[in-house]
Structures are given as C-alpha cells and as structure tokens.
C-alpha cells in the first residue's frame, strides 16, 4: 500500500515534468518516423523472399522491430536524467525521507513506460496510414511486451547511472551495450535472412525473442510459441532489473 502510494507520488511528479515539455516525446518519435518513411520502403524488395510482397506485409515485419528498438533505446538513455537529478541534489533530498527506495525507481521507470507507449501509439497510427493492418487485441499484447522491455532497460539505465554517476561514462557504456543487442535482435532485418551461425548467436539475445514475439503478434499468430516465450523472457528480465536497480537506489550515494 505504502509502495503504491509512494510510487504514485514519484510517477506523478516525473510525468508532470515530462508533460510540461512534451516536445521530448516528439523528439523521441522523430527518428523512428524517419525510419518508417525513408527506410521501410527499401525493405519491400529485400523482404520479398520472406513473402512480403505488399506494403502491409512489409510494415508487419518492420514496425514491430522499430517499436522494440524504440523501447530499448528510449529506456537505456533514461539514466541521463537521473544523473542530472543526482547532481541537483533531488535524489539525496528524496533519500532522507522515509519514501520507499523501490518507489524512487518504479515511479521513474513507469513514467518511462508511459512515455514509450505514447510514442508507440504515434508510430502505430502513422504506420496504419501507410498500410499496416493489425488487430487491436494483439496490438495491446505487443504493447505489453514493449512496456516490459522499457521497464527493463530504463531500470538498468538508472542502476548503471547510480553506479557511474557521470554522463561521460554512461553514454559510451549504453552505446556499447545497445549496438550488439540491436544487431543481434533482427530488429532492422529479420534474422531469417542471417547465416546459421549468426542465428545461433542471436538465440542468446533476449531481445531477439522479444522481437520475434512482437512480430508474431502483429501477424496475428497467437499460437506461435515465440509470443509467450518473448513475454516470459522480457518479464523475468524486467523483474531482475528492477530488483537490482532498486538496490542501487537504496545504497548510499556519495
């Protein structure tokens, strides 16, 4: 009960500050929209061997990957805001109060989830204009997957931010993590096109399961095992990340 109340206090504060500058939501959407406009049309012929002969089929493969990409990157870079708060003394001010340490993390990460879903909705709507078709129920399940990914990556980013305490260290660290994750998840192009060894390596990348699951949902293929496997893997990792990051919030910060 106290946790829910405390989380709400932090969430409301963080969301309030975000809404005050909504331009950031659109800045976050800008890059994926560019991919949608300028990169997706190239894919139609590249994806033809996979049976993507129409715009609709192309977007069904591409848009889920794009959304997962947004969730990963959007989450991983949230730590920057926390370092600014750390520097301003806001975090220390919170830590002398009896507020739950888990709430300090969850309030922030849930704000990130909400902002990600808002961006995902914008991109989905645009893709619908271009010809994407997807069933609402499956779309909501796909958003669930995105929410879990954003929860995980933002928690990891906050935890790492509290450990390194400097933007200069956080930026290269997050980029170093994000790039192989991105390449090994079949986000931009499905790994079906990859040689066998690359596919074997990618099996160890949890985000590759998440991408496959999200694609299956967009395709309306609920019976595909990748759906529950993707949800289970991201869910588990989200819980572990939250536990680890909350411990960083509870530890003393010099």
């Amino acid at each position: 009960m106290k946790l829910a109340r405390d989380t709400w206090i932090i969430f409301a504060r963080q969301l309030g500050l975000l809404v005050r500058q909504p331009v950031w939501i659109f800045v976050g959407v800008f890059q994926p929209v560019m991919y949608l406009l300028l990169f997706a049309p190239l894919l139609k012929s590249a994806l033809a061997p996979m049976g993507a002969t129409t715009d609709e089929a192309t977007y069904r493969i591409f848009v889920p990957g794009l959304l997962v990409l947004l969730a990963i990157f959007g989450g991983l870079f949230q730590g920057f805001g926390l370092i600014a708060e750390l520097r301003a003394g806001v975090l220390e001010r919170s830590r002398v109060t009896p507020i739950s340490r888990l709430a300090l993390l969850l309030g922030r990460s849930l704000r990130d989830v909400v902002s990600l879903i808002a961006q995902a909705v914008i991109i989905t709507l645009l893709a619908l204009v271009f010809g994407l078709r997807v069933q609402l129920g499956y779309l909501l399940l796909a958003y669930m997957m995105l929410a879990l990914i954003a929860l995980m990556t933002s928690a990891v980013s906050y935890g790492v931010a509290l450990k390194v305490k400097s933007e200069d260290a956080l930026a290269p660290l997050m980029n170093t993590v994000a790039q192989p994750v991105l390449l090994l998840s079949g986000i931009l192009l499905p790994l079906l096109l990859a040689p066998a060894w690359l596919r074997t390596v990618a099996k160890w990348n949890p985000f590759s399961w998440a991408v496959d699951g999200t694609r299956a949902l967009f395709a309306g293929d609920l019976s595909n095992d990748k759906v529950w496997q993707g949800l289970a893997i991201t869910g588990l990792l989200a819980i572990l990340s939250v536990i680890w990051a909350a411990r960083q919030f509870a530890r003393s910060i010099r």
């Binding site: 206090i9 504060r13 003394g89 001010r93 919170s94 009896p98 003393s252 910060i253 010099r254």
Partner: protein, 325 residues
C-alpha cells in the same frame, strides 16, 4: 541529549591509482548535542564534517560506533530517524524546472503527509521564508539566497525535531548570510535543534550556542565559543616583521630570540610574514617584545594585540590555522 554519538567511524576505499588505499574519514567521534541549541561543527574541508552529518542523517551507514538521534537508535531504526530529522545538503536540492511550491508539496508527500496537509505546510513555509512572491516561478530563476531558503524550507516541511544543515551559508553574499542566520535562529526559537557545519569561524562564533572543532576525522575541542576562547589564557600578539614580503629567515631568527623570553608561552610563525605570540598579558608584553627585537636589530613593521579568536583556538588544538588549511 537529542543527539549522542559514541566512537562513530567511517572509512572509504579510495580508487585512485592501482593501490586501494583506505581513507579514514571519521575516526571515532563522540558528540553530545542538547535539545533546542544551535550546534556548530567547524573544521577545514576534508575534516570529516559532512561524512559525520551524512551518517547522522541516515545517508551513510557507519562502520563502527553508535548513535542515537532524537531518541532513536541510528543503526537499528534508520527509518524512524528519517521521520524525526531534516537534512539540507550543501549543494542544493531543487530541480530547475519545478517551482518552490511544487517542491515543497512533493517533499511533504515524500514524508508521508497527505496532499492537503502538504499544501498547507508549503504555503506556510513559503510565507515564513518570505518566498511567497516567487512561489510559482521555476527554481532556475531564483537567486542563490532564495534557493538556499527553499532548501531549508524543504528540510523542515515535516516539522522535524532536529535539522542538519551542511554549510548553510557557503557561497552567499554577506546580506544573504545575515538573512540566513536570522532564519536559523528562528528555527531554534520554534524549538528545533539545529546541527550545522561551517568553515566560517565568525559564523560559528555569533550563531552557535556550542561548537565542536573537527580535524582529521576527530573532534579536537568542544564547548561554547566563549569557553573555547577562554581556554587559551591570555592574549595574542601579532608581530609583523621586515618590509612586508614574508622572510622566513628573519622570522626564524626572531622566533629563536623570543622563544627564550619567559613571558612568551607559545609562538607560531604566521604566513603573512611575522609571528603570533601567546602571552599572559599583552599590555606588559609589548614593551618587552619591542626591546628584545630592537636589541637584536630586527626591524619591526607592525605590532597588534588581540583577544584569542576561534582561529587561535583552532591553531592551538591542531597546530595550524584554519585559514591555511
């Protein structure tokens, strides 16, 4: 006693270079702070003041020793300590894009107050700290003094018994400093115990009821400012030598000469090119000093007589001046 510590210790591992050196920041601090007083912690940077303060405010776990704060054991019930104390950090605590009112309401909420009580307290605090005029402007538009007042208001929004202020006046202009002293006295008149750190000796002298001098992680003296100054019996005579530029050889000669005189209890070579002599009675010592220096042909630039200051106390206790460290 509202705060009582026994043998409080904390060390850090410094990560400079390959060797992991252990730095003993606080090495066994015993403190007693009475309810309703302004207690000052003075000492140079790196003396361990902030570390002690952060331990007492539950932001750091002590490595050893024990402490009770506001009647609660610090190590076993840090959560209860948090409810009873306020803490205001040195580097500020407000977010540029928020307003003072928002910050105050949030802080009240984080202390567990309901929304309406938080709002009432915020309005009252804005009024008390003369911030009402700026209450709904973003914090980034505030002056240093206004911002510091918001910080203090945030620290006491839950009406704690004890409030810890880390360097509350550092970086403020003289007028804002005087204003801040009034605010701190007001907190005391409202029944709060104020525990502050400072490296301004004049501030400790005029503001604090009792002070503790800390150096190298240990308390080297404790008492009221007057007690501490009286501990150094007698007067301090400053003798300026030479033409103004410090001349170590000349100072050493004069020191050797005067050290032999029975009326000089102790002397220090001062950085500003001269000697500081601790004597029983300055009035009778001055002619003797003049005669001794004249006899040896050492040129005298100035001679000053003053009552011991807290800096002299610091010098006596630690062997160096606080201004130099």
């Amino acid at each position: 006693m509202i705060i009582e510590t026994k043998g409080l210790r904390k060390s850090f591992r410094s990560r400079d270079g390959k060797d992991k050196a252990k730095v003993d920041a606080v090495r066994g601090v015993d403190l007693e702070v009475a309810e309703g007083e302004i207690f000052g912690f003075i000492g140079p940077n790196g003396a361990g003041k902030t570390t002690t303060l952060r331990m007492l405010a539950t932001l750091m776990t002590p490595d050893g020793g024990s402490a009770t704060v506001a009647g609660v054991d610090l190590r076993t019930q840090p959560g209860d300590v948090r409810r009873r104390i306020g803490y205001v950090a040195q580097g500020g605590s407000t977010w540029d894009e928020s307003t003072a009112r928002e910050e105050l309401v949030l802080q009240g909420r984080m202390y567990g107050l309901s929304r309406s009580v938080s709002q009432q307290r915020a309005t009252a605090a804005l009024d008390a700290f003369q911030l009402t005029e700026y209450a709904d402007r973003k914090c980034k538009t505030y002056s240093g003094g206004q911002r510091r007042r918001v910080d203090i208001a945030l620290g006491i929004i839950h009406q704690p018994k004890v409030v810890f202020l880390d360097e509350p006046t550092s970086g403020l202009d003289p007028q804002s400093r005087a204003h801040m002293w009034d605010e701190i006295r007001r907190l005391r008149s409202e029944g709060m115990t104020v525990f502050l750190t400072t490296h301004y000796l004049d501030e400790a002298d005029v503001l604090c009821d009792r002070i503790s001098i800390m150096d190298h992680g240990q308390v080297v003296a404790e008492g009221t400012p007057d007690e501490l100054k009286h501990e150094i019996s007698g007067d301090v005579v400053f003798v300026g030598l030479g033409s103004g530029t410090p001349d170590p050889a000349l100072a050493a000669d004069a020191a050797k000469l005067l050290d032999r005189e029975p009326f000089v209890h102790r002397l220090e070579v001062a950085q500003e090119g001269g000697l500081r002599l601790f004597v029983t009675d300055g009035g009778t010592a001055i002619p003797l000093i003049l005669r001794a220096l004249d006899g040896a042909g050492i040129a005298l630039r100035t001679i000053e007589l003053h009552r011991p200051s807290l800096d002299d106390v610091f010098l006596t206790k630690t062997g160096r001046s606080l201004r130099e460290s």
